[in-house]
Subunit: 398 residues, 2 copies
Amino acid sequence: MSEAGGLSPTLVGTGDLFQLLRDGTPRTRGELARLSSLARSTVTARVDALLSSGLLEPVGEAASTGGRPPTRFALNRHDRVVLAIDLGASHATVAVSDLGGRVLGQRTVECDIADGPVTVVDLVARIGVELLDELGRPSRDVAGVGIGVPGPVEHATGRPANPPIMPGWHDVDVPELLSRHFGGPVLVDNDVNLMALGEYVTSWQESQHLLLVKVATGIGAGIVSDGRLMRGALGSAGDLGHVQVAGASADVVCRCGNVGCLEAVAAGPAIAAKLQAAGLDVTGSQGIVDAVAAGDVAALRAVREAGRDLGAVLATCVNLLNPSVIVIGGKLSEAGEYLLAGVREVVYQRSLPLATHDLRIVSSSAGSQAGILGASAMVIDAVLAPRAVDAYVAQRTV
Amino acid sequence: MSEAGGLSPTLVGTGDLFQLLRDGTPRTRGELARLSSLARSTVTARVDALLSSGLLEPVGEAASTGGRPPTRFALNRHDRVVLAIDLGASHATVAVSDLGGRVLGQRTVECDIADGPVTVVDLVARIGVELLDELGRPSRDVAGVGIGVPGPVEHATGRPANPPIMPGWHDVDVPELLSRHFGGPVLVDNDVNLMALGEYVTSWQESQHLLLVKVATGIGAGIVSDGRLMRGALGSAGDLGHVQVAGASADVVCRCGNVGCLEAVAAGPAIAAKLQAAGLDVTGSQGIVDAVAAGDVAALRAVREAGRDLGAVLATCVNLLNPSVIVIGGKLSEAGEYLLAGVREVVYQRSLPLATHDLRIVSSSAGSQAGILGASAMVIDAVLAPRAVDAYVAQRTV
């Protein structure tokens, strides 16, 4: 509802009209008037304002129905760029995308999250500036910054909340640290949430209800419901790793102090330990993936069994959340169909028929890019929202 | 974005301004201008339109700062009414509320859901008309109708989806049936979802993340996340009854054909059967509640044990959804602290510390009114939304 910059009453609501152009489909003024129920004169004024702001561009002409053919308009993806950052325990990926979420440049470096927020943020900011330089984009072109971190985050403030593997990051104002380097909003979220969003925007937008499960050294999930990330009261929603597996032995003690946790029976270290006990020389999730690729029967069995344990927990998630797609990502998803087969076996047996009616269980398609794509999508969603567009247009037409 | 009825460009957006008045707090034109960042002249035009539509009313004067004291305005709760309907397996409750969700009149009758949609809808519509008559409100005052049914619903279309205990209702266009009797939107949802919404709007709006569990003949849940009902892809989200309880005996066969389901160990019939086997003369959920009230030790133990089983499943829900409050409702919640004690025992033991940090586990406060209050809230939310208000104002100012 802002009239900042003296935007005229007619132009307040330009951001609403713009929503009809966000999907990239080129439309004429006439089509926009029809879709919005707005007066033709209002549409013309708003399209002009969007054109002069740079957010919109003409993209050729529609077929003429007699007379001069009308011009079509669409989002100008190149008007500004987004900085997307994905922090892991021991790596950082920094990318620059356009406003359509297309990655224009990207770099991954080793980086220990335990070095603390100031060191890590300085590093990724420096890489961001380098990438922008290489792309010939000045810092003022940055519409906003999205960053994923390996722990729970209070999304509204961008502060990590007691993240177990991020010493020194608790309650740190990450947006403030990044704002020293770049303009626009800085949005922070849990890395698995952003993987879920990345899978959603790239492959599953028509589904609206997606559950992404990351299986690697730990196990976590991100939930998209009605097309929106579900974060929970303290940002810890999707924390599957320490759910008790029905039927798991009470002898399995987890690092959290409880027994029978999903992570303690089905994550990379648990599978590797099982294989080592059977005499195999396997370390880490990559070792398991390699053993499966080599056709080692003990590895196939262990991965399938882990899939069943994961399936037992996901069956509960299916009844509770009623998703239309479950995406399995993370390093162990590279073990391919063996993990998925175990998951499917138990989910389809244990979930309610109605909830599995149209349910798909698939491997990640965005792979290791999911987090970056999600970080970019989160920012685009914010900076192209109606009120943000109103404010941007006002600022550019002063 | 409608300009139906020739609403002037200044008045499009009246619904946005109105959102600042929905909470019932009286505000002056000056306060509205400050809160909305709109020009004073725009605020004046929109307030005038809302006053003449009847949605807004003057409610006294603010303290003067010199000169004539400014008038305060607030939502006129009585401008229109909402019809709220709660259908159970064997009863129907029909209520009329104002636009603030206050119930003005209500009636409950016996009614077999298996009589089918035409018979049941005709019955509740007749009761609705009677209630309106008694309140002296004509049918044209009905802003919309909200109805809860005991089964999954595709909310977007209002059609029940394979509801197990509602023979004849599958895929029936319930909104169309009710539209024959009343104007305005007709919104249909699962009864437990509406209980969750009812608890949320009456007691927990500041929490934003609520899980309501109904424990009676069956067990089901409704999820409010970020203040919105989470329904899932096919409207079956929250279906907890057939989740496998970790640690439950594999001998317990559920009516769904699986073993170890929550309903088979912790719902009313399971507890009653256990008490009967111990020689007690207990039938139904009411019988269990009575036995607990009478201090029968076997009943206390059985209810507490059921609470533990429920807690095992809710611990998973807590990790997955990170709610800030769990509300236990349904007939068995009247067994009071014994059920809750069992739930708390296991949830606080099995959930992650971060997720239980601020978690409250409480009994329903709205009780049997929760469904009606939720149905009313669902309709109010729709008819007082920005675009709906724009359209209403346009129609009333023609």
